[in-house]
Symmetry: C2
Subunit: 347 residues, 2 copies
């Protein structure tokens, strides 16, 4: 009795290209050519090599390949968020999903680097210096974030998710962001078209570029003569409720509010209900994000500005891949994706 099982288990030592070549009766070079697309190899040999690959269960050794090609087949996703919100925010979750899906198409791996403070910059620097990844997808949402400066010290191609802050050293950094100003414009224009006259804004934290851009869109769109009424929240439901309460205190006659994200808008709705205001009759509310689990379940459902977060993730990858293919000369201009006003019950 042999101890070999019938359904050939994965071999303990992985076969090399050498073994494949031998079995197919060709040289290692030809085997390599076939494994890498088979350009310029006679079909007949291509077939033989492929059979050998199949029979042996050959899988290329990534390290060996990287050693000679200097391509890693991996990109780093760097997220610099000090708090737990990192992933619990559906924003990241969807964007990463989009990135993951697109990366799969390019057969590139995703190395996740979570940064939790400037103490981690050393580690990131060391990693980037090691040249372990071909490119970087980074999220740096705060205007005072040092991450772009850290990354900028290396020659590694980067694409940011969201407009990075002004502290950025390189002027040609690529990024993908939705049209925050345009979205805000759509929201405010809609409220104006509804005949509202006291249109307030609950903004996000001032050190986040998306919050700044939305607030700017609000200011720019507000018709002359209408007062700008702004309260700052922190992108959480609680923060939104508190900001709404302050707003009602400052200006009881407010009849509309554009809120910089859906989470805060849900809080604002709650605050309005507690203050006895009807939505949308007394106060119309428009959010931002169209974060499904929130916007669809509020009472009333939220009219909001939709951004295609997953699509943005995919675009980040495509942009990066293009730069990897075309070299440093490739287009590094920002990509701004459109937003769309989704009408529901709140405005």
């Amino acid at each position: 009795m042999s101890d070999q099982t019938a359904d050939s288990p994965p071999p303990d030592v992985r076969p090399t290209l050498e073994a494949v070549a031998a079995r197919a009766g060709v040289s290692r070079a030809t085997a390599s050519r076939v494994v890498n697309g088979g350009a310029g190899v006679r079909p007949h040999l291509v077939e033989r090599v492929n059979v050998a690959v199949e029979e042996l269960g050959y899988v290329p050794n990534h390290a060996a390949r990287t050693l000679v090609t200097r391509r890693n087949g991996a990109v780093a996703v760097i997220i610099d968020e000090p708090e737990f919100r990192v992933f619990s925010d559906p924003f990241f979750s969807r964007q990463i999903r989009g990135i993951s899906r697109e990366l799969v198409l390019h057969d590139v791996q995703l190395v996740l680097l979570l940064v939790e403070g400037s103490g981690d910059f050393d580690r990131v620097s060391r990693y980037l210096a090691g040249g372990h990844v071909d490119g970087v997808l980074a999220f740096s949402l705060h205007t005072d974030d040092e991450l772009p400066a850290v990354i900028g010290r290396f020659r590694v191609p980067v694409v940011y998710g969201g407009r990075p802050g002004p502290g950025d050293p390189a002027p040609d950094v690529g990024y993908v962001d939705c049209d925050n100003r345009g979205g805000a414009r759509q929201a405010v224009a809609h409220l104006v078209s509804l005949g509202r006259r006291r249109i307030a804004h609950i903004a996000g934290p001032v050190h986040q570029t998306s919050a700044l851009d939305r607030a700017e869109g609000y200011r720019a769109t507000l018709p002359d003569g209408l007062p700008a009424l702004i309260e700052e929240g922190d992108f959480t439901a609680e923060g939104g409720a508190a900001a709404m309460s302050r707003l009602l205190e400052r200006e009881p006659a407010v009849d509309a509010v554009f809120v910089a994200n859906d989470l805060m808008a849900s809080g604002a709705l709650r605050a309005l209900a507690e203050h006895g205001r009807r939505v949308p009759e007394d106060v119309a509310v428009v959010g931002f994000d169209d974060m499904a689990p929130v916007a669809e379940t509020t009472a009333p459902p939220l009219t909001t500005v939709r951004q295609d977060v997953e699509g943005m993730g995919r675009l980040m990858v495509r942009r990066l891949m293009r730069r990897l293919d075309e070299g440093p000369g490739a287009d590094a201009s920002p990509v701004i994706t459109p937003t769309e006003l989704v009408l529901r019950g709140s405005a």
Copy 2:
């Protein structure tokens, strides 16, 4: 005028060990020894090499090292969740944070593999077959999940987050889970000690092991003579509210409910309020997870069973690292972490 800038920019070609050795006046072998801990090298040479490393900004080439050591310095985190919930669930977010933090300590990279259905198994198989990672941390929360079977086909060490389902081929798979049964016991015992007599349970989806274990703990702890009242939810707030409503319909006299997670508990609280029940006077409620943003902000704040999710992530890594160090003979028994009842206002 030379075009060299003063503050030595990162060199275009990275220095090799060879260069370090030359500069330190030693052989490549000695330089290598120093870079890898310097055991058995005279202090005097260690110093010289380290200086050279510093001056040249030497960083070891990972691919070259992997090629000879057959160690990748990377582990894959595989998450098999078809829906968007993946990261939006703070559970994953914290666990990954824990994993990331611990991995950093071991100087090991995190490769993220998101699986969205059986169509992705091929890709995962190919990746694992490629031997690109030293080990795997996997999340397979559904009893009918094929992922464990897929992973089991390879010799790669695995540690699961949460008890994998029964379909698992290998009996010795390691996993880290909290004491779901014990936690349920704490919750029910507390409700009993409060003198409650009609203690219901809102369970999670039947195909998740954590939900099963919690429900089993509930049943086992319920004193003889008390009826088991169970409604199934889907771990969302809406599902919890719906389940609570059904419960009230079936058994209006219910005076306590142990809910399988905090999100559903928050929905249950809402449903109870809508049905005019006071909490905890009429109905006492205990949740599970101690998910801060939820449990602390409900009205009343939620009494709940805390599990240390980040700690579980760290334990997964430690367990895996141990197996990598000690080989296949290492202890592969499950790790069950304790839970703790956190008393707030709801029970």
